[in-house]
Amino acid sequence: MKHTISVLLQNKPGVLSRVTGLFSGRGFNIESLSVAQTMDNEISCLTLVTRGDNAIIEQITKQLHKLIDVIKVTDISETDYVEREMALIRIKAESSTRAEVLRIADIFRARVVDVSQKSYSIEVTGSQGKIEAVTELLKPIGIQEIVRTGSIAMTRASKKY
């Protein structure tokens, strides 16, 4: 099963390598990974998406927690959460298809961020499923390049007052 795990860690050189080394060394896989500073510039937040049965996910969270530089590990998939990914896509857009590309972009609330005589570059944000849906639709027209950020995720705030 797919799990999204959020890890707070010390913002120090080599920390990312400790995390990725753990995954390769123990044979866990990483589907996507994204990391940046938090409000506290000594702490980074890392979001990673991985797959595995419950025993593997339990090992992953425990092993992550065992790293000396790791502050907190949360399996976000166990909570109610919001997940987003962004993709930049350059699509072939010649006179016959220019309008179609814009239509699809519009449907997915994507924005054009670069334009040339033969292509559009669009920015699209959403769940992994949405990014995959838009790429599927654009593929027949001709995707020239695609860059994805990997998921970032956040637990939803408590609705109780």
Partner: protein, 565 residues
Amino acid sequence: MKMTGTQAFMKCLEEENVKTIFGFPGGSVIDLYDTILKQDKIHHVLVRHEQAAVHAADAFARVTGDVGVAIVTSGPGATNTVTGIATAYLDSIPIVVFTGQVPTALIGNDAFQEVDIVGITRPCTKHNYLVKDIKDLVPTIREAFHVARSGRPGPVLVDLPKDVMASMINFPAKKEVKMRTYKPTYEPHPGQIAKACKAIMKAKRPVLYIGGGVILGKASKELTEFAKKLDIPVTMTLMGLGGFPGSDPLSLGMLGMHGTYYANMAVAKSDVLIAVGARFDDRVTGKVDEFASGAKIIHIDIDPTSISKNVEVDIPIVAGCKEAMIQMNKWVDAADINLDAKKSEMGPWLEQIKEWKEKHPLSYVEETDVIKPQFVIEKLDELTGGDAIVTTEVGQHQMWAAQFYHFNKPNTLITSGGLGTMGYGFPAAMGAQMAAPGRTVIDVAGDGSMQMNIQEFATIMQERLPIKIALLNNGYLGMVRQWQELFYDKRYSATPMEVVPDFVKLAEAYGAVGLRATKPSEVEPVIKEALATDTCVLMDFVIAREEGVFPMVPAGKATTDMLLV
């Protein structure tokens, strides 16, 4: 007080109460060695290979129960420590390894004797550091010792660039190490303790399965109290030997691949298995699905990742072994239990175990003309009164030592259990003897392993250490040969040692004493002479060449599927 980085370094070691360090100099640590020469509080032992420095520091830690320290130079000095560090990592031994590094301005330039040792050792250290600023030096060293010795202990590496060590600093006042991210749990959850104790009270066929955590956690006394209070039989992993007295009637000896028949049978038939500081290693469990399959499993471990890693656990307790055993003893004492009645309930189970013990005791076929290795170990046990510190290399001799020597106290068997490092025992004997100058230290070795760190004879003679080496010489890489005999139709690929040195002469070449026994009748006189000699003695026992280690559970088989003698 203003001082150089190297002076601050020495002061940090003093703060940590370090008296002995093992090392080898080089360009990147030459300033540090200059400072070492100018002081007399810390004794530096000059090894002949950096791997040996780490093994010696590791054994020093195992004997004293405190942190061992090694110092080496950058580049090859650092890479030579890797096997030693991995050995300590797999057995959770607290050591701090200091490596020299090229000056910070040259890092990343492929400078002479530069390697990224922090990168190389990341997966085999508990944690490691590169000190890039002199301000961080003292706090980093303090943190390194704290991390190495606390929680589940382990090796820590600190990389020290030459220019940082030459800079000046004001030595910061000592303060307790507080880390934002690292806070090991020692105290057990009372609810889990009660659950575990209730399960044990209901058990008809309980077994305690104890590992290295009992020794590292200094829980031997509390565990022994618990076992004896309730008459629960105890089996030990290789790392757990000595955690419970091997001569006690409740002891089942070692379990697993070369464990006793009765230990493996008892675990297989148990209804409650209490794992204390052990990690369900494949050499212990054999085929995992059939390991203690009828038992409720209680697992006490300080490291949450060990719990339910290989075998699913029913009652997990994350705690130090000592703290957990104290609480379990308290629970039993507080509960209104008639201990005599409880013990008599154990009668049938202990009777069954006794039957197994009588049916298949540890044994071997004695011979009059050729020395059996098991006989040598029995004689060593007898003539040292079971009171020696025994280090081992890795292979058949290691298993015979584990089977036939009665380890009655913790920290007396010093062996590479997890990584299985050949060449460990000889430098380990050095570290052990430095840690316990008055004790008899014996390295039980094989002719294969012995040659992997034989250069340390020079260090041992330089330090005048009266180490005894019991070499079980069969001219084979015996453990691999045994597997080839049993599972590869006796195709002895690369296991016969066609050239074996004359170990007696070799010992003499270093100024040590060499003795040889080729007949069983010579074994006792040779051991007696060695024990009476106050210098290093190598005893070359020429043993039955194709003797095997039994019982044996073939790899991947259930532990009840044993090949017996």
